[in-house]
């Protein structure tokens, strides 16, 4: 049973900056007052992008039925994209009473026969963890039968939040895949991208630039990922943690085990992208590479500045209020500033201490950090004459009442906002929002209400 990670240990992450004060993201949920996904969803988010692996969910229908084919994580894999397929044992009452183990074994065999994936991830869920189906043994036996890695993922929903589930997913990869294969060749500039899931092709906004610089992405967890590559991840020179605090345990353990240092960064907006590229070059520590990177950044920024000009003219003098959570509180704010939009307020209610500090730095001393955005945002829009509200769907009514443009930050985006090019997508979408008369039009009173 060695493969079951110790949850206590994962919750007590020494690399977490917020660990000194209190475990902001790790508290037990309150019955009747909880939002957000479970550990299973977190594991799914972190592992499903391996398109050459099958993802078998051992549980009843809610777990997979509501969640497959939900995330637009692009892959360049030319075989059948297994990320966008759903496999589940769909257990019934008999399985609950007499165990679903036989079903798991038969399902893995079925998957291997019909889809021959490079690996199979087998996910425990609340019910199957509770009835005690032994996924470790079943996976071990199946791996021996089929000669591919079969990875048990112990992140049933009831162990905690989405964030914890992502860590547990990372833990499964560390235990069962990383270090199980040697790469054909290595280079001095091999990196792993950790926590980048390539949603809407975010990663492809900057990987061509890395390639141009001679930096090789040895493996990813797990955007556009391949099982064969993550198995060789222990030979990388650097772990690059992209916008994902949840996997900090994994990078720390890889540092302890394989001596791979890690850096955390984001590729959201122009400044972050430039800083990120330079940080990677500096961490790899090659003077020539650093020089090349600086030149590339200068070239890309000039190109982008040129393309952004018409937008900046359009956005000049425009003010935005941002109501979101987590790292978006400052990362979106920074991107908006890159476009020439003044961010007058951002919500920090659902942000960690670390994110709040970054938000303050991004907005400057005059920016408002909203602790109670639901109440504050309407007032701030009035006071500042803001033109645009970026928030979750709930705030649409505020925007309509105030007659200003609205952009849903939580809406499933269809195109990438990442890297240099992504900023142009964001600019285009926001320009469209500001020009759209719909927000004023729907606010018209009915003739019988006048």
């Amino acid at each position: 049973m060695a493969s079951k990670p110790k949850i206590k240990e994962l919750l007590d992450e020494s690399s977490c900056a917020h660990n000194q004060t209190r475990k902001v993201a790790c508290n037990a949920p309150t019955p009747g007052a909880t939002t957000g996904g479970c550990a299973f969803e977190g594991a799914q988010i972190s592992l499903f992008p391996y398109a050459d692996a099958a993802h078998l969910v051992h549980g009843p229908m809610t777990c997979l039925g509501s969640s497959w084919e939900t995330r637009a994580t692009g892959t360049s894999y030319t075989g059948r994209d297994l990320t966008q397929m759903g496999f589940t044992t769909d257990i019934n009452i008999n399985d609950v009473v007499f165990s679903g183990e036989e079903k798991v074994a038969a399902s893995i065999d079925y998957i291997m026969t019909h889809y021959s994936p490079e690996a199979v991830f087998v996910y425990a869920t609340c019910v199957t963890a509770m009835i005690g189906d032994d996924l470790d043994l079943l996976s071990k036996q199946a791996a021996e039968r089929h000669g591919v890695p079969v990875v048990p993922v112990h992140a049933p929903g009831f162990v905690g939040s989405k964030n914890l589930g992502s860590r547990l997913g990372g833990e499964a990869v560390l235990t069962h895949l990383i270090g199980t294969k040697e790469p054909e060749t290595t280079t001095p500039f091999d990196i792993n991208l950790i926590g980048e899931y390539n949603v809407t092709g975010d990663m492809w906004q900057y990987t061509p630039l890395l390639e141009e610089l001679g930096i090789r992405v040895l493996s990813t967890l797990s955007g556009d990922g391949r099982v064969a590559q993550i198995r060789t991840a222990h030979r990388a020179k650097l772990n690059v943690l992209v916008c994902a605090k949840s996997l900090v345990s994994l990078t720390r353990k890889m540092e302890e085990r394989y001596g791979i240092p890690s850096i955390a960064l984001s590729f959201y907006g122009q400044r972050d992208t430039s800083n990120g590229l330079l940080a990677i070059a500096e961490a790899l520590g090659d003077a020539e590479l650093i020089e090349r990177t600086k030149q590339l950044i200068a070239r890309e920024e000039t190109k982008l500045t040129e393309k952004l000009k018409p937008y900046q003219t359009f956005f000049k003098g425009k003010k935005a209020v941002l109501n979101t959570g987590g790292n978006k509180t400052w990362s979106i704010a920074a991107a908006l500033q890159d476009l020439g939009i003044e961010v007058v307020a951002t919500a920090v209610k659902k942000a960690t201490q670390d994110d709040r500090e970054k938000a303050r730095k991004t907005l400057g001393k005059n920016g408002v950090l909203m602790m109670n955005p639901g109440v504050e945002q309407a007032k701030i829009i009035d006071e500042t004459g803001a033109d645009l509200l970026l928030a979750g769907g709930r705030s649409l009514y505020t925007a309509i009442k105030k007659g200003i443009a609205f952009a849903d930050v939580n809406q499933e985006k269809k195109k990438s906002y990442g890297g240099y090019e992504g900023l142009l997508n964001l600019a285009e979408d926001l320009k469209n929002a500001l020009q759209n008369p719909v927000f004023k039009n729907v606010a018209r009173r009915a003739p019988w209400e006048k």
Binding site: P60, G65, W68, I131, V442
Partner: protein, 428 residues
């Protein structure tokens, strides 16, 4: 009618379109005004369900979770989590009803939610909906039945002008509205349970409510026993009608397996004429019947040369297959998400309980696929025409206003199918 395969042979589901009981139960509670569905289980079931419906309806979805954790699961029989949930919900909002439904987790450990419900001094309906049993349709029906059993007051006298409509889960908000209006056209006062037509119909309110906004009022549910007539639509709803009859000895029941297409709508009209003694329907109804007749003729040429695969919940599957059959469409494969005795009645060459991998394996047998958004990938890979129906549809907006029911919806539905088939033939 052709072959019916009731049992799956595979050990697993591959690309499932089956959905769970708790999700169906949630939707039923969202058809009650001012309700807060409370899902008893891990927080993920609720989060998944909320996102699922939010994306399908493009509307905020009210729901809360008892947020059972692994430690709580061992120590608590539901007393703590549920009582605490109700306390925390009512601190912030005042629901007219709390809709308590279970998931697989508490059912596995055997929580006695009936016992817990008895301790709670707040309007609450409880229902057992483990997700390892039944499916989307049964979750909705069980919840509707629970509301009837726990809320409806016994009645002695029947009001012949009052009619209860019990719609199956796959009827969209606009379809429920159209059926209500159709019946109202004959002078009845109609109450639908659940009623999505005023809650998830996609209307812009004054502000966003934290509870379901619209739907049947709890007070109206309590008084459903006074109705003289109950109409159930969809075989899944039969048991609900029976539960309602127990509350009122005077009430009479009529059942419709579905209300799609010419024949089914004719039988509804006939019943309403008999009940009222009217000599004819409202003018608009007669006009729509003529339009549907014309639509059947206009679309029969395309439909007659097209083969369809339909993947849906049993009640919707029955209706769609009948509507296509009426105008000459050949349903070669009908796939149901779950088993049901009703599959024997479906008009198709092959009827099976299955998943979308089955649909993919049978790709040579059809030209047009009718099903949920997961069918899009199949249509794309195998160059099939696609008509999106059922849950979820994250690909399109306007889902609550898709109308296939009665004469009117029947005409729209046939046109869409015929046009899709023609367009598909034009491309290949």
């Amino acid at each position: 009618m052709g072959e019916v395969i009731h049992k799956r042979v595979k050990p697993l589901q591959v690309n499932p379109f089956k959905l769970s009981q708790p999700m169906g139960a949630t939707l039923a509670f969202l058809g009650v005004d001012g309700c807060m569905p409370l899902m008893h289980g891990g927080q993920g079931c609720t989060s998944f369900t909320k996102v699922f419906f939010t994306r399908h309806f493009c509307e905020p979805i009210a729901i809360q979770t008892s947020a059972v954790t692994d430690a709580i699961a061992v120590l608590d029989g539901g007393d703590y989590s549920i009582v605490e949930s109700v306390k925390n919900i009512t601190k912030k909002v005042t629901p007219s009803l709390i809709g308590l439904l279970t998931t697989g987790l508490p059912e596995t450990k055997g929580d006695d939610i009936r016992g817990v419900a008895a301790q709670i001094d707040y309007p609450l309906v409880y229902v057992n909906t483990p997700d390892y049993e039944g499916g989307f349709e049964s979750g909705w029906a069980l919840t509707c039945k629970a509301m009837i059993e726990q809320l409806v007051e016994p009645a002695g006298r029947a009001d012949d002008n009052k009619l209860v409509l019990l719609p199956h889960i796959s009827l969209t908000p606009i379809e429920v509205e159209k059926i209500k209006e159709f019946i109202e056209g004959f002078g009845f006062n109609v109450f639908a349970l659940p009623d999505l037509s005023t809650s998830l119909d996609g209307h812009l309110g004054e502000k966003q409510a934290a509870l379901s906004s619209g739907g049947i009022a709890v007070e109206d549910i309590r008084k459903l026993g006074e109705a003289g007539l109950v109409l159930s639509v969809g075989d899944s709803m039969q048991a609900c009608a029976e539960a309602l009859l127990k509350k009122s000895p005077e009430m009479r029941h009529h059942h419709f397996p579905h209300l799609q297409g010419f024949e089914a709508t004719d039988s509804l009209a006939e019943l309403l004429l008999t009940e009222t003694g009217f000599s004819g329907p409202p003018l608009a109804v007669a006009r729509w019947r003529q339009r549907l007749q014309d639509a059947m003729l206009d679309s029969h040429f395309s439909l007659g040369q097209s083969r369809f695969l339909v993947a849906a919940e049993p009640d919707q599957l029955t209706g769609i297959c009948q509507a296509l059959y009426d105008a000459g469409g050949k349903v070669t494969v009908a796939i149901s998400s779950v088993d049901s005795p009703q599959l024997e009645k479906i008009i198709a060459e092959t009827v099976l309980v299955g998943d979308l991998e089955d649909a993919e394996h049978l790709a040579d047998d059809y030209d047009v696929i009718i099903g949920n958004f997961h069918c899009e990938a199949i249509a794309h890979r195998h160059h099939k025409g696609l008509v999106l129906r059922g849950f979820p549809n994250w690909e399109q907006v306007g889902n609550p206003l898709k109308n296939d029911a009665l004469y009117e919806g029947g005409a729209y539905f046939l046109f869409e199918c015929a046009n899709t088939a023609m367009e598909m033939r034009g491309h290949h």
